[in-house]
Symmetry: C2
Subunit: 327 residues, 2 copies
Protein backbone atom coordinates (compact mmCIF):
# COMPACT_ATOMS: atom_id res chain seq x y z
CA UNK A 1 0.00 0.00 0.00
CA UNK A 2 1.40 3.37 -1.01
CA UNK A 3 1.58 6.34 1.29
CA UNK A 4 -1.49 8.48 1.69
CA UNK A 5 -1.79 12.12 0.68
CA UNK A 6 -4.94 12.57 2.75
CA UNK A 7 -6.10 11.14 6.06
CA UNK A 8 -9.75 11.73 5.25
CA UNK A 9 -11.68 12.27 2.03
CA UNK A 10 -15.23 13.42 2.73
CA UNK A 11 -17.99 13.15 0.14
CA UNK A 12 -21.31 14.78 0.78
CA UNK A 13 -23.96 17.34 0.00
CA UNK A 14 -22.29 20.77 -0.24
CA UNK A 15 -24.71 23.02 1.60
CA UNK A 16 -24.82 26.53 2.99
CA UNK A 17 -26.67 26.71 6.31
CA UNK A 18 -29.09 29.52 7.10
CA UNK A 19 -29.48 29.49 10.87
CA UNK A 20 -32.19 31.34 12.74
CA UNK A 21 -33.46 31.18 16.29
CA UNK A 22 -37.12 30.22 16.53
CA UNK A 23 -39.69 29.30 19.15
CA UNK A 24 -41.24 25.82 19.28
CA UNK A 25 -44.47 27.36 17.99
CA UNK A 26 -42.72 28.16 14.69
CA UNK A 27 -42.00 24.44 14.21
CA UNK A 28 -45.54 23.36 14.99
CA UNK A 29 -47.02 26.09 12.80
CA UNK A 30 -44.94 24.79 9.87
CA UNK A 31 -45.44 21.07 10.63
CA UNK A 32 -41.75 20.56 11.32
CA UNK A 33 -40.55 17.57 13.35
CA UNK A 34 -38.04 18.88 15.89
CA UNK A 35 -34.52 17.57 15.39
CA UNK A 36 -35.17 16.07 11.96
CA UNK A 37 -33.84 16.95 8.52
CA UNK A 38 -36.43 16.99 5.78
CA UNK A 39 -35.97 17.67 2.08
CA UNK A 40 -37.87 20.58 0.56
CA UNK A 41 -38.22 21.75 -3.02
CA UNK A 42 -37.40 25.25 -4.26
CA UNK A 43 -40.91 26.57 -3.63
CA UNK A 44 -41.11 25.16 -0.11
CA UNK A 45 -37.66 26.53 0.67
CA UNK A 46 -38.75 29.97 -0.48
CA UNK A 47 -41.91 29.84 1.65
CA UNK A 48 -40.05 28.69 4.76
CA UNK A 49 -37.34 31.31 4.25
CA UNK A 50 -39.93 34.06 3.86
CA UNK A 51 -41.48 33.04 7.18
CA UNK A 52 -38.17 32.60 9.01
CA UNK A 53 -36.61 35.14 11.39
CA UNK A 54 -33.39 36.89 10.28
CA UNK A 55 -30.65 34.33 9.75
CA UNK A 56 -26.92 33.85 9.63
CA UNK A 57 -25.29 32.05 6.72
CA UNK A 58 -22.38 29.70 7.12
CA UNK A 59 -21.01 26.74 5.25
CA UNK A 60 -22.52 23.45 6.33
CA UNK A 61 -23.16 20.00 4.95
CA UNK A 62 -22.61 17.01 7.16
CA UNK A 63 -19.42 15.53 5.68
CA UNK A 64 -18.15 19.03 4.90
CA UNK A 65 -18.49 19.95 8.57
CA UNK A 66 -16.59 16.79 9.46
CA UNK A 67 -13.84 17.74 7.01
CA UNK A 68 -13.51 21.28 8.38
CA UNK A 69 -13.31 20.05 11.97
CA UNK A 70 -10.84 17.28 11.11
CA UNK A 71 -8.62 19.79 9.29
CA UNK A 72 -8.75 22.06 12.34
CA UNK A 73 -7.50 19.06 14.33
CA UNK A 74 -4.51 18.71 12.02
CA UNK A 75 -5.74 15.95 9.71
CA UNK A 76 -4.97 16.14 5.97
CA UNK A 77 -8.40 16.40 4.39
CA UNK A 78 -10.05 16.50 0.95
CA UNK A 79 -13.71 16.90 0.04
CA UNK A 80 -15.97 16.24 -2.95
CA UNK A 81 -19.31 18.03 -3.19
CA UNK A 82 -21.34 19.99 -5.73
CA UNK A 83 -21.97 23.70 -5.40
CA UNK A 84 -23.30 26.02 -8.10
CA UNK A 85 -21.35 28.83 -9.73
CA UNK A 86 -23.03 31.44 -7.51
CA UNK A 87 -22.35 33.60 -4.45
CA UNK A 88 -23.25 30.95 -1.90
CA UNK A 89 -21.15 28.43 -3.82
CA UNK A 90 -18.21 30.82 -3.60
CA UNK A 91 -18.82 31.18 0.13
CA UNK A 92 -18.82 27.39 0.54
CA UNK A 93 -15.61 27.01 -1.49
CA UNK A 94 -13.87 29.79 0.40
CA UNK A 95 -14.75 28.32 3.76
CA UNK A 96 -13.55 24.83 2.83
CA UNK A 97 -10.27 26.11 1.43
CA UNK A 98 -9.76 28.53 4.31
CA UNK A 99 -10.28 25.56 6.64
CA UNK A 100 -7.36 23.84 4.92
CA UNK A 101 -9.50 21.32 3.04
CA UNK A 102 -8.55 20.34 -0.54
CA UNK A 103 -11.75 20.89 -2.54
CA UNK A 104 -11.25 20.04 -6.23
CA UNK A 105 -14.95 19.61 -7.23
CA UNK A 106 -16.00 21.72 -10.19
CA UNK A 107 -19.07 23.94 -9.66
CA UNK A 108 -22.31 23.30 -11.53
CA UNK A 109 -22.77 25.85 -14.32
CA UNK A 110 -26.24 27.12 -15.33
CA UNK A 111 -28.23 24.73 -13.17
CA UNK A 112 -29.89 24.89 -9.79
CA UNK A 113 -28.36 27.22 -7.16
CA UNK A 114 -26.12 26.07 -4.32
CA UNK A 115 -27.96 23.92 -1.80
CA UNK A 116 -29.11 25.51 1.40
CA UNK A 117 -30.35 24.16 4.67
CA UNK A 118 -32.83 26.32 6.56
CA UNK A 119 -32.13 25.57 10.20
CA UNK A 120 -34.39 26.59 13.07
CA UNK A 121 -32.70 26.46 16.45
CA UNK A 122 -35.19 26.29 19.32
CA UNK A 123 -34.43 27.55 22.85
CA UNK A 124 -33.47 23.99 23.93
CA UNK A 125 -30.60 24.03 21.40
CA UNK A 126 -32.22 21.47 19.08
CA UNK A 127 -31.90 22.15 15.36
CA UNK A 128 -34.63 21.35 12.85
CA UNK A 129 -33.46 21.30 9.25
CA UNK A 130 -35.15 21.92 5.91
CA UNK A 131 -32.80 21.16 3.04
CA UNK A 132 -33.18 22.37 -0.52
CA UNK A 133 -30.66 20.20 -2.40
CA UNK A 134 -30.21 22.52 -5.40
CA UNK A 135 -26.91 21.84 -7.19
CA UNK A 136 -26.23 18.77 -5.00
CA UNK A 137 -28.55 16.65 -7.12
CA UNK A 138 -25.97 16.88 -9.90
CA UNK A 139 -23.17 15.23 -7.94
CA UNK A 140 -22.42 12.01 -9.77
CA UNK A 141 -19.73 9.46 -10.57
CA UNK A 142 -17.83 11.96 -12.69
CA UNK A 143 -17.19 13.99 -9.55
CA UNK A 144 -15.34 11.09 -7.94
CA UNK A 145 -11.66 11.39 -8.79
CA UNK A 146 -10.38 7.89 -8.06
CA UNK A 147 -6.80 9.09 -7.66
CA UNK A 148 -7.85 11.23 -4.70
CA UNK A 149 -9.87 8.35 -3.24
CA UNK A 150 -6.87 6.05 -3.57
CA UNK A 151 -4.67 8.63 -1.84
CA UNK A 152 -6.93 8.92 1.24
CA UNK A 153 -6.67 6.60 4.25
CA UNK A 154 -10.41 6.83 4.93
CA UNK A 155 -13.16 7.83 2.50
CA UNK A 156 -16.01 9.19 4.61
CA UNK A 157 -19.52 9.25 3.17
CA UNK A 158 -22.56 10.92 4.67
CA UNK A 159 -25.86 9.06 4.57
CA UNK A 160 -27.61 12.16 3.25
CA UNK A 161 -25.76 11.51 0.01
CA UNK A 162 -28.37 8.83 -0.69
CA UNK A 163 -31.03 11.53 -1.10
CA UNK A 164 -29.89 12.98 -4.45
CA UNK A 165 -30.31 9.97 -6.77
CA UNK A 166 -27.16 10.33 -8.91
CA UNK A 167 -24.99 10.51 -5.80
CA UNK A 168 -25.57 6.85 -4.96
CA UNK A 169 -23.49 5.92 -7.98
CA UNK A 170 -20.79 8.32 -6.82
CA UNK A 171 -21.01 6.70 -3.41
CA UNK A 172 -20.51 3.18 -4.79
CA UNK A 173 -17.74 4.23 -7.15
CA UNK A 174 -15.86 5.87 -4.29
CA UNK A 175 -16.26 2.81 -2.07
CA UNK A 176 -14.98 0.52 -4.82
CA UNK A 177 -12.01 2.78 -5.57
CA UNK A 178 -11.10 2.99 -1.89
CA UNK A 179 -11.12 -0.75 -1.42
CA UNK A 180 -9.23 -1.33 -4.67
CA UNK A 181 -6.48 0.85 -3.22
CA UNK A 182 -6.56 -0.95 0.11
CA UNK A 183 -8.18 1.98 1.92
CA UNK A 184 -11.12 2.10 4.31
CA UNK A 185 -14.67 3.32 3.78
CA UNK A 186 -16.60 5.07 6.54
CA UNK A 187 -20.31 5.90 6.53
CA UNK A 188 -22.32 8.15 8.80
CA UNK A 189 -26.02 7.35 8.87
CA UNK A 190 -26.87 11.10 9.09
CA UNK A 191 -30.31 10.90 10.73
CA UNK A 192 -33.09 8.47 11.52
CA UNK A 193 -35.40 9.87 8.86
CA UNK A 194 -32.65 9.47 6.26
CA UNK A 195 -32.24 5.84 7.41
CA UNK A 196 -36.01 5.35 7.03
CA UNK A 197 -35.88 6.66 3.50
CA UNK A 198 -33.05 4.34 2.43
CA UNK A 199 -33.02 1.43 4.90
CA UNK A 200 -32.66 -1.43 2.43
CA UNK A 201 -29.89 0.29 0.46
CA UNK A 202 -28.07 1.23 3.66
CA UNK A 203 -28.30 -2.30 5.06
CA UNK A 204 -26.82 -3.75 1.91
CA UNK A 205 -24.12 -1.08 1.66
CA UNK A 206 -23.12 -1.37 5.31
CA UNK A 207 -22.79 -5.13 5.16
CA UNK A 208 -20.88 -5.14 1.90
CA UNK A 209 -18.88 -1.94 1.60
CA UNK A 210 -18.52 -0.16 4.93
CA UNK A 211 -15.54 -0.64 7.23
CA UNK A 212 -16.33 2.08 9.77
CA UNK A 213 -19.92 2.93 10.66
CA UNK A 214 -20.92 6.10 12.55
CA UNK A 215 -24.44 6.28 13.95
CA UNK A 216 -26.36 7.58 16.90
CA UNK A 217 -28.86 5.60 18.92
CA UNK A 218 -31.99 6.38 16.89
CA UNK A 219 -30.17 5.82 13.61
CA UNK A 220 -28.70 2.43 14.52
CA UNK A 221 -31.92 1.10 16.02
CA UNK A 222 -33.75 2.30 12.92
CA UNK A 223 -31.21 0.71 10.57
CA UNK A 224 -31.51 -2.72 12.16
CA UNK A 225 -35.13 -2.25 13.25
CA UNK A 226 -34.20 -3.31 16.75
CA UNK A 227 -35.94 -2.12 19.91
CA UNK A 228 -32.85 -1.79 22.04
CA UNK A 229 -29.57 -0.03 21.51
CA UNK A 230 -27.58 -3.10 22.59
CA UNK A 231 -29.29 -5.35 20.06
CA UNK A 232 -28.68 -2.82 17.29
CA UNK A 233 -25.08 -2.33 18.38
CA UNK A 234 -24.51 -6.09 18.29
CA UNK A 235 -25.89 -6.20 14.76
CA UNK A 236 -23.59 -3.36 13.72
CA UNK A 237 -20.66 -5.15 15.33
CA UNK A 238 -21.37 -8.18 13.13
CA UNK A 239 -21.70 -6.08 9.94
CA UNK A 240 -18.69 -3.76 10.11
CA UNK A 241 -15.09 -3.94 11.29
CA UNK A 242 -15.51 -0.83 13.41
CA UNK A 243 -18.77 0.59 14.74
CA UNK A 244 -18.76 4.02 16.40
CA UNK A 245 -22.05 4.66 18.14
CA UNK A 246 -22.92 7.94 19.85
CA UNK A 247 -25.59 8.46 22.49
CA UNK A 248 -25.63 12.26 23.05
CA UNK A 249 -24.93 13.07 26.71
CA UNK A 250 -24.55 9.34 27.47
CA UNK A 251 -21.29 9.29 25.51
CA UNK A 252 -20.21 6.86 22.84
CA UNK A 253 -19.53 3.16 22.41
CA UNK A 254 -16.91 1.84 20.01
CA UNK A 255 -16.92 -1.79 18.86
CA UNK A 256 -14.10 -3.48 16.95
CA UNK A 257 -14.40 -7.27 16.90
CA UNK A 258 -14.37 -8.29 20.53
CA UNK A 259 -12.97 -4.92 21.61
CA UNK A 260 -15.43 -2.50 23.21
CA UNK A 261 -14.59 1.03 24.38
CA UNK A 262 -17.03 3.26 26.24
CA UNK A 263 -16.30 6.99 26.18
CA UNK A 264 -18.03 9.64 28.30
CA UNK A 265 -19.48 12.74 26.70
CA UNK A 266 -17.58 15.97 27.31
CA UNK A 267 -19.56 18.41 29.49
CA UNK A 268 -20.89 21.36 27.47
CA UNK A 269 -23.47 24.10 27.72
CA UNK A 270 -25.72 23.31 24.75
CA UNK A 271 -26.46 26.32 22.54
CA UNK A 272 -27.02 24.65 19.17
CA UNK A 273 -26.62 20.94 18.47
CA UNK A 274 -26.12 21.51 14.71
CA UNK A 275 -23.07 19.52 13.63
CA UNK A 276 -22.52 17.61 16.87
CA UNK A 277 -22.37 14.22 15.15
CA UNK A 278 -20.25 15.61 12.33
CA UNK A 279 -17.75 16.99 14.81
CA UNK A 280 -17.64 13.74 16.76
CA UNK A 281 -16.82 11.82 13.56
CA UNK A 282 -14.13 14.38 12.74
CA UNK A 283 -12.43 14.04 16.11
CA UNK A 284 -12.68 10.27 15.98
CA UNK A 285 -11.25 10.00 12.47
CA UNK A 286 -8.49 12.53 13.13
CA UNK A 287 -7.39 10.32 16.02
CA UNK A 288 -7.96 7.07 14.15
CA UNK A 289 -5.95 8.07 11.10
CA UNK A 290 -3.18 9.29 13.41
CA UNK A 291 -3.01 5.80 14.91
CA UNK A 292 -4.47 6.61 18.34
CA UNK A 293 -6.11 3.90 20.48
CA UNK A 294 -9.91 3.73 20.18
CA UNK A 295 -10.69 5.33 23.59
CA UNK A 296 -8.52 8.32 22.62
CA UNK A 297 -10.27 8.57 19.23
CA UNK A 298 -13.58 8.63 21.08
CA UNK A 299 -12.34 11.31 23.49
CA UNK A 300 -11.22 13.46 20.55
CA UNK A 301 -14.70 13.04 19.07
CA UNK A 302 -16.38 14.02 22.32
CA UNK A 303 -14.21 17.09 22.77
CA UNK A 304 -14.81 18.28 19.21
CA UNK A 305 -18.58 17.75 19.57
CA UNK A 306 -18.65 19.65 22.87
CA UNK A 307 -16.97 22.63 21.23
CA UNK A 308 -19.42 22.66 18.33
CA UNK A 309 -22.60 22.49 20.43
CA UNK A 310 -21.44 25.31 22.72
CA UNK A 311 -22.09 27.94 20.02
CA UNK A 312 -24.28 28.57 16.96
CA UNK A 313 -23.05 26.90 13.78
CA UNK A 314 -21.37 23.64 12.88
CA UNK A 315 -17.81 24.83 12.30
CA UNK A 316 -15.27 25.29 15.11
CA UNK A 317 -14.73 28.65 16.83
CA UNK A 318 -12.19 27.63 19.47
CA UNK A 319 -8.68 26.34 18.79
CA UNK A 320 -9.45 22.62 18.70
CA UNK A 321 -5.83 21.60 18.76
CA UNK A 322 -5.44 23.25 22.15
CA UNK A 323 -8.50 21.40 23.43
CA UNK A 324 -7.06 17.99 22.54
CA UNK A 325 -3.49 18.77 23.58
CA UNK A 326 -2.08 15.98 25.70
CA UNK A 327 -4.35 13.23 24.36
Amino acid sequence: MTDTTFDILGIGNAIVDVVARAEDTFLSRHDMHKGAMILVDAGQAEAIYAAMPPGEESSGGSAANTCAVAAALGARVAYFGKVADDQLGAVFRHDMQASGVHFPSKPLIAGAPTARCLILVTPDGQRTMNTYLGACVKLDELDVDESVVAAAAVTYLEGYLFDPPAAQAAFRKAAAAAHAAGRQVALSLSDAFCVDRHRADFRELVARDVDILFANETEITSLYEENTFEAAAAAAGRDVALAVLTRSEAGSIILRGSERAEVAAEPARVVDTTGAGDAYAAGFLAGYTAGKPLPVCGRMGSIAAAEIISHYGARPEANLNKLIAGL
Copy 2:
Protein backbone atom coordinates in the same frame (compact mmCIF):
# COMPACT_ATOMS: atom_id res chain seq x y z
CA MET B 1 -47.97 68.09 11.29
CA THR B 2 -49.64 64.85 10.21
CA ASP B 3 -49.30 61.59 12.05
CA THR B 4 -46.26 59.47 11.33
CA THR B 5 -46.33 56.01 9.79
CA PHE B 6 -42.75 55.32 10.87
CA ASP B 7 -40.76 56.30 13.94
CA ILE B 8 -37.46 55.88 12.13
CA LEU B 9 -36.43 55.83 8.48
CA GLY B 10 -32.84 54.67 8.06
CA ILE B 11 -30.86 55.37 4.90
CA GLY B 12 -27.51 53.73 4.41
CA ASN B 13 -25.21 51.35 2.62
CA ALA B 14 -26.94 47.96 2.33
CA ILE B 15 -24.17 45.51 3.14
CA VAL B 16 -23.76 41.84 3.94
CA ASP B 17 -21.11 41.24 6.60
CA VAL B 18 -18.62 38.40 6.34
CA VAL B 19 -17.26 37.91 9.85
CA ALA B 20 -14.19 35.85 10.66
CA ARG B 21 -12.03 35.53 13.74
CA ALA B 22 -8.42 36.52 13.16
CA GLU B 23 -5.25 37.12 15.12
CA ASP B 24 -3.66 40.56 15.33
CA THR B 25 -0.90 39.29 13.04
CA PHE B 26 -3.46 38.93 10.24
CA LEU B 27 -4.22 42.65 10.49
CA SER B 28 -0.59 43.69 10.45
CA ARG B 29 0.22 41.31 7.59
CA HIS B 30 -2.52 42.97 5.52
CA ASP B 31 -1.77 46.56 6.62
CA MET B 32 -5.13 46.91 8.33
CA HIS B 33 -5.71 49.54 11.00
CA LYS B 34 -7.50 47.85 13.91
CA GLY B 35 -11.01 49.15 14.52
CA ALA B 36 -11.25 51.11 11.29
CA MET B 37 -13.45 50.71 8.23
CA ILE B 38 -11.66 51.09 4.93
CA LEU B 39 -13.08 50.95 1.43
CA VAL B 40 -11.70 48.33 -0.94
CA ASP B 41 -12.31 47.68 -4.61
CA ALA B 42 -13.51 44.38 -6.07
CA GLY B 43 -9.97 43.06 -6.57
CA GLN B 44 -8.83 43.94 -3.07
CA ALA B 45 -11.98 42.43 -1.62
CA GLU B 46 -11.29 39.20 -3.47
CA ALA B 47 -7.69 39.09 -2.25
CA ILE B 48 -8.64 39.76 1.36
CA TYR B 49 -11.45 37.19 1.23
CA ALA B 50 -9.09 34.57 -0.22
CA ALA B 51 -6.71 35.14 2.68
CA MET B 52 -9.41 35.25 5.36
CA PRO B 53 -10.35 32.38 7.68
CA PRO B 54 -13.77 30.74 7.23
CA GLY B 55 -16.52 33.30 7.79
CA GLU B 56 -20.14 33.71 8.72
CA GLU B 57 -22.43 35.87 6.63
CA SER B 58 -25.11 38.09 8.11
CA SER B 59 -26.86 41.25 7.08
CA GLY B 60 -25.05 44.38 8.16
CA GLY B 61 -24.74 48.02 7.15
CA SER B 62 -24.63 50.64 9.86
CA ALA B 63 -28.07 52.26 9.48
CA ALA B 64 -29.58 48.87 8.56
CA ASN B 65 -28.30 47.44 11.85
CA THR B 66 -29.85 50.40 13.65
CA CYS B 67 -33.15 49.77 11.88
CA ALA B 68 -33.19 46.06 12.77
CA VAL B 69 -32.42 46.76 16.43
CA ALA B 70 -34.98 49.58 16.65
CA ALA B 71 -37.64 47.32 15.13
CA ALA B 72 -36.77 44.64 17.68
CA LEU B 73 -37.40 47.29 20.33
CA GLY B 74 -40.87 47.91 18.96
CA ALA B 75 -40.23 51.00 16.84
CA ARG B 76 -41.95 51.32 13.44
CA VAL B 77 -39.06 51.36 10.99
CA ALA B 78 -38.37 51.79 7.28
CA TYR B 79 -35.08 51.58 5.38
CA PHE B 80 -33.67 52.72 2.03
CA GLY B 81 -30.53 51.03 0.69
CA LYS B 82 -29.28 49.50 -2.55
CA VAL B 83 -28.65 45.79 -2.93
CA ALA B 84 -28.12 43.89 -6.17
CA ASP B 85 -30.49 41.32 -7.63
CA ASP B 86 -28.34 38.45 -6.32
CA GLN B 87 -28.24 35.87 -3.52
CA LEU B 88 -26.65 38.16 -0.94
CA GLY B 89 -29.14 40.88 -1.87
CA ALA B 90 -31.95 38.42 -1.24
CA VAL B 91 -30.39 37.55 2.12
CA PHE B 92 -30.22 41.23 3.05
CA ARG B 93 -33.82 41.84 2.00
CA HIS B 94 -35.09 38.78 3.85
CA ASP B 95 -33.32 39.78 7.05
CA MET B 96 -34.66 43.35 6.96
CA GLN B 97 -38.21 42.22 6.30
CA ALA B 98 -38.00 39.40 8.85
CA SER B 99 -36.84 42.03 11.35
CA GLY B 100 -40.07 43.91 10.72
CA VAL B 101 -38.45 46.71 8.71
CA HIS B 102 -40.28 48.16 5.69
CA PHE B 103 -37.72 47.97 2.87
CA PRO B 104 -39.15 49.34 -0.41
CA SER B 105 -35.83 49.97 -2.26
CA LYS B 106 -35.63 48.29 -5.67
CA PRO B 107 -32.59 46.10 -6.27
CA LEU B 108 -29.92 47.05 -8.81
CA ILE B 109 -30.25 44.93 -11.95
CA ALA B 110 -27.19 43.89 -13.99
CA GLY B 111 -24.66 45.99 -12.12
CA ALA B 112 -22.17 45.38 -9.33
CA PRO B 113 -23.01 42.67 -6.76
CA THR B 114 -24.41 43.38 -3.31
CA ALA B 115 -21.92 45.17 -1.08
CA ARG B 116 -20.01 43.17 1.46
CA CYS B 117 -17.94 44.06 4.46
CA LEU B 118 -15.08 41.70 5.31
CA ILE B 119 -14.79 41.92 9.08
CA LEU B 120 -11.90 40.55 11.07
CA VAL B 121 -12.64 40.16 14.76
CA THR B 122 -9.49 39.97 16.88
CA PRO B 123 -9.33 38.22 20.26
CA ASP B 124 -9.92 41.57 22.05
CA GLY B 125 -13.36 41.82 20.37
CA GLN B 126 -12.35 44.71 18.09
CA ARG B 127 -13.62 44.56 14.52
CA THR B 128 -11.64 45.75 11.54
CA MET B 129 -13.69 46.28 8.42
CA ASN B 130 -12.95 46.19 4.68
CA THR B 131 -15.95 47.30 2.68
CA TYR B 132 -16.54 46.64 -1.00
CA LEU B 133 -19.43 48.98 -1.83
CA GLY B 134 -20.68 47.12 -4.92
CA ALA B 135 -24.32 47.97 -5.66
CA CYS B 136 -24.35 50.68 -2.95
CA VAL B 137 -22.63 53.13 -5.26
CA LYS B 138 -25.83 53.25 -7.29
CA LEU B 139 -28.01 54.55 -4.46
CA ASP B 140 -29.13 57.99 -5.56
CA GLU B 141 -31.90 60.58 -5.27
CA LEU B 142 -34.32 58.36 -7.17
CA ASP B 143 -34.18 55.90 -4.28
CA VAL B 144 -35.48 58.51 -1.84
CA ASP B 145 -39.27 58.28 -1.74
CA GLU B 146 -40.23 61.60 -0.20
CA SER B 147 -43.62 60.30 0.95
CA VAL B 148 -41.85 57.77 3.18
CA VAL B 149 -39.47 60.44 4.47
CA ALA B 150 -42.41 62.71 5.25
CA ALA B 151 -44.12 59.88 7.12
CA ALA B 152 -41.15 59.18 9.43
CA ALA B 153 -40.57 61.05 12.70
CA VAL B 154 -36.79 60.78 12.34
CA THR B 155 -34.79 60.20 9.17
CA TYR B 156 -31.52 58.59 10.25
CA LEU B 157 -28.52 58.83 7.95
CA GLU B 158 -25.22 57.01 8.36
CA GLY B 159 -22.02 58.92 7.66
CA TYR B 160 -20.74 56.07 5.51
CA LEU B 161 -23.35 57.15 2.98
CA PHE B 162 -20.97 59.94 2.01
CA ASP B 163 -18.57 57.37 0.55
CA PRO B 164 -20.58 56.41 -2.56
CA PRO B 165 -20.70 59.73 -4.47
CA ALA B 166 -24.31 59.61 -5.74
CA ALA B 167 -25.59 58.94 -2.23
CA GLN B 168 -24.73 62.46 -1.07
CA ALA B 169 -27.52 63.79 -3.28
CA ALA B 170 -29.88 61.19 -1.80
CA PHE B 171 -28.73 62.30 1.63
CA ARG B 172 -29.52 65.98 0.95
CA LYS B 173 -32.82 65.22 -0.73
CA ALA B 174 -33.93 63.15 2.25
CA ALA B 175 -32.92 65.88 4.71
CA ALA B 176 -34.82 68.51 2.72
CA ALA B 177 -37.92 66.34 2.48
CA ALA B 178 -37.83 65.57 6.19
CA HIS B 179 -37.62 69.21 7.17
CA ALA B 180 -40.27 70.22 4.67
CA ALA B 181 -42.59 67.79 6.44
CA GLY B 182 -41.61 69.12 9.87
CA ARG B 183 -39.63 65.98 10.75
CA GLN B 184 -36.16 65.58 12.24
CA VAL B 185 -32.91 64.52 10.64
CA ALA B 186 -30.37 62.41 12.52
CA LEU B 187 -26.81 61.66 11.42
CA SER B 188 -24.33 59.14 12.74
CA LEU B 189 -20.71 59.99 11.98
CA SER B 190 -19.92 56.27 11.43
CA ASP B 191 -16.16 56.31 12.11
CA ALA B 192 -13.22 58.65 12.49
CA PHE B 193 -11.71 57.68 9.14
CA CYS B 194 -15.03 58.40 7.44
CA VAL B 195 -15.06 61.81 9.17
CA ASP B 196 -11.51 62.41 7.89
CA ARG B 197 -12.58 61.63 4.35
CA HIS B 198 -15.54 64.02 4.41
CA ARG B 199 -14.88 66.55 7.19
CA ALA B 200 -15.81 69.73 5.33
CA ASP B 201 -19.02 68.25 3.93
CA PHE B 202 -19.96 66.84 7.32
CA ARG B 203 -19.32 70.15 9.10
CA GLU B 204 -21.55 71.99 6.68
CA LEU B 205 -24.25 69.35 6.77
CA VAL B 206 -24.28 69.08 10.57
CA ALA B 207 -24.55 72.83 11.03
CA ARG B 208 -27.24 73.25 8.42
CA ASP B 209 -29.31 70.08 8.19
CA VAL B 210 -28.84 67.85 11.23
CA ASP B 211 -31.10 67.93 14.27
CA ILE B 212 -29.73 64.90 16.10
CA LEU B 213 -26.05 63.99 15.90
CA PHE B 214 -24.65 60.62 16.99
CA ALA B 215 -20.88 60.31 17.37
CA ASN B 216 -18.30 58.62 19.51
CA GLU B 217 -15.31 60.32 21.06
CA THR B 218 -12.84 59.92 18.21
CA GLU B 219 -15.45 60.92 15.64
CA ILE B 220 -16.56 64.09 17.37
CA THR B 221 -13.02 65.27 18.15
CA SER B 222 -12.09 64.56 14.54
CA LEU B 223 -15.12 66.42 13.17
CA TYR B 224 -14.34 69.58 15.12
CA GLU B 225 -10.57 69.04 15.14
CA GLU B 226 -10.54 69.56 18.88
CA ASN B 227 -8.08 67.96 21.28
CA THR B 228 -10.51 67.26 24.07
CA PHE B 229 -13.84 65.54 24.17
CA GLU B 230 -15.42 68.37 26.15
CA ALA B 231 -14.39 71.01 23.61
CA ALA B 232 -15.74 68.91 20.75
CA ALA B 233 -18.95 68.19 22.67
CA ALA B 234 -19.45 71.91 23.26
CA ALA B 235 -19.01 72.57 19.54
CA ALA B 236 -21.57 69.86 18.74
CA GLY B 237 -23.95 71.36 21.28
CA ARG B 238 -23.78 74.66 19.44
CA ASP B 239 -24.32 73.05 16.01
CA VAL B 240 -27.24 70.68 16.64
CA ALA B 241 -30.39 70.62 18.73
CA LEU B 242 -29.51 67.23 20.20
CA ALA B 243 -26.03 65.70 20.42
CA VAL B 244 -25.68 62.08 21.52
CA LEU B 245 -22.07 61.25 22.23
CA THR B 246 -20.84 57.78 23.16
CA ARG B 247 -17.60 56.93 24.94
CA SER B 248 -17.50 53.11 24.92
CA GLU B 249 -17.21 51.77 28.48
CA ALA B 250 -17.32 55.35 29.84
CA GLY B 251 -20.98 55.60 28.82
CA SER B 252 -22.66 58.38 26.89
CA ILE B 253 -23.36 62.08 27.18
CA ILE B 254 -26.48 63.68 25.77
CA LEU B 255 -26.70 67.41 25.16
CA ARG B 256 -29.88 69.33 24.33
CA GLY B 257 -29.55 73.07 24.75
CA SER B 258 -28.58 73.57 28.36
CA GLU B 259 -29.73 70.06 29.30
CA ARG B 260 -26.98 67.48 29.83
CA ALA B 261 -27.56 63.81 30.65
CA GLU B 262 -24.77 61.38 31.47
CA VAL B 263 -25.56 57.70 31.08
CA ALA B 264 -23.42 54.80 32.27
CA ALA B 265 -22.47 51.99 29.92
CA GLU B 266 -24.22 48.68 30.55
CA PRO B 267 -21.79 46.01 31.76
CA ALA B 268 -21.08 43.39 29.08
CA ARG B 269 -18.61 40.67 28.25
CA VAL B 270 -17.18 41.93 24.95
CA VAL B 271 -17.11 39.29 22.21
CA ASP B 272 -17.39 41.46 19.09
CA THR B 273 -17.90 45.22 19.06
CA THR B 274 -19.37 45.19 15.52
CA GLY B 275 -22.55 47.24 15.56
CA ALA B 276 -22.21 48.65 19.08
CA GLY B 277 -22.74 52.24 17.95
CA ASP B 278 -25.54 51.23 15.60
CA ALA B 279 -27.34 49.46 18.42
CA TYR B 280 -26.87 52.40 20.78
CA ALA B 281 -28.45 54.74 18.22
CA ALA B 282 -31.32 52.27 17.78
CA GLY B 283 -32.07 52.10 21.47
CA PHE B 284 -31.79 55.85 21.82
CA LEU B 285 -34.09 56.60 18.88
CA ALA B 286 -36.63 53.94 19.88
CA GLY B 287 -36.89 55.70 23.24
CA TYR B 288 -36.76 59.18 21.76
CA THR B 289 -39.52 58.59 19.22
CA ALA B 290 -41.61 57.00 21.98
CA GLY B 291 -41.29 60.24 23.95
CA LYS B 292 -39.01 58.97 26.74
CA PRO B 293 -36.82 61.39 28.75
CA LEU B 294 -33.22 61.65 27.48
CA PRO B 295 -31.63 59.59 30.31
CA VAL B 296 -34.04 56.75 29.53
CA CYS B 297 -33.24 57.02 25.82
CA GLY B 298 -29.56 56.74 26.71
CA ARG B 299 -30.18 53.72 28.93
CA MET B 300 -32.06 52.01 26.11
CA GLY B 301 -29.09 52.70 23.85
CA SER B 302 -26.64 51.30 26.37
CA ILE B 303 -28.68 48.15 26.93
CA ALA B 304 -29.05 47.50 23.20
CA ALA B 305 -25.31 48.04 22.65
CA ALA B 306 -24.42 45.70 25.51
CA GLU B 307 -26.52 42.94 23.96
CA ILE B 308 -24.91 43.37 20.53
CA ILE B 309 -21.30 43.29 21.74
CA SER B 310 -21.87 40.16 23.83
CA HIS B 311 -22.00 37.95 20.70
CA TYR B 312 -20.71 37.83 17.11
CA GLY B 313 -22.69 39.93 14.64
CA ALA B 314 -24.48 43.25 14.69
CA ARG B 315 -28.09 42.07 14.88
CA PRO B 316 -29.80 41.17 18.18
CA GLU B 317 -29.95 37.59 19.48
CA ALA B 318 -31.70 38.16 22.80
CA ASN B 319 -35.25 39.48 23.25
CA LEU B 320 -34.44 43.18 23.49
CA ASN B 321 -37.92 44.13 24.65
CA LYS B 322 -37.41 41.99 27.74
CA LEU B 323 -34.09 43.70 28.43
CA ILE B 324 -35.66 47.17 28.44
CA ALA B 325 -38.84 46.17 30.26
CA GLY B 326 -39.60 48.60 33.06
CA LEU B 327 -37.69 51.55 31.58
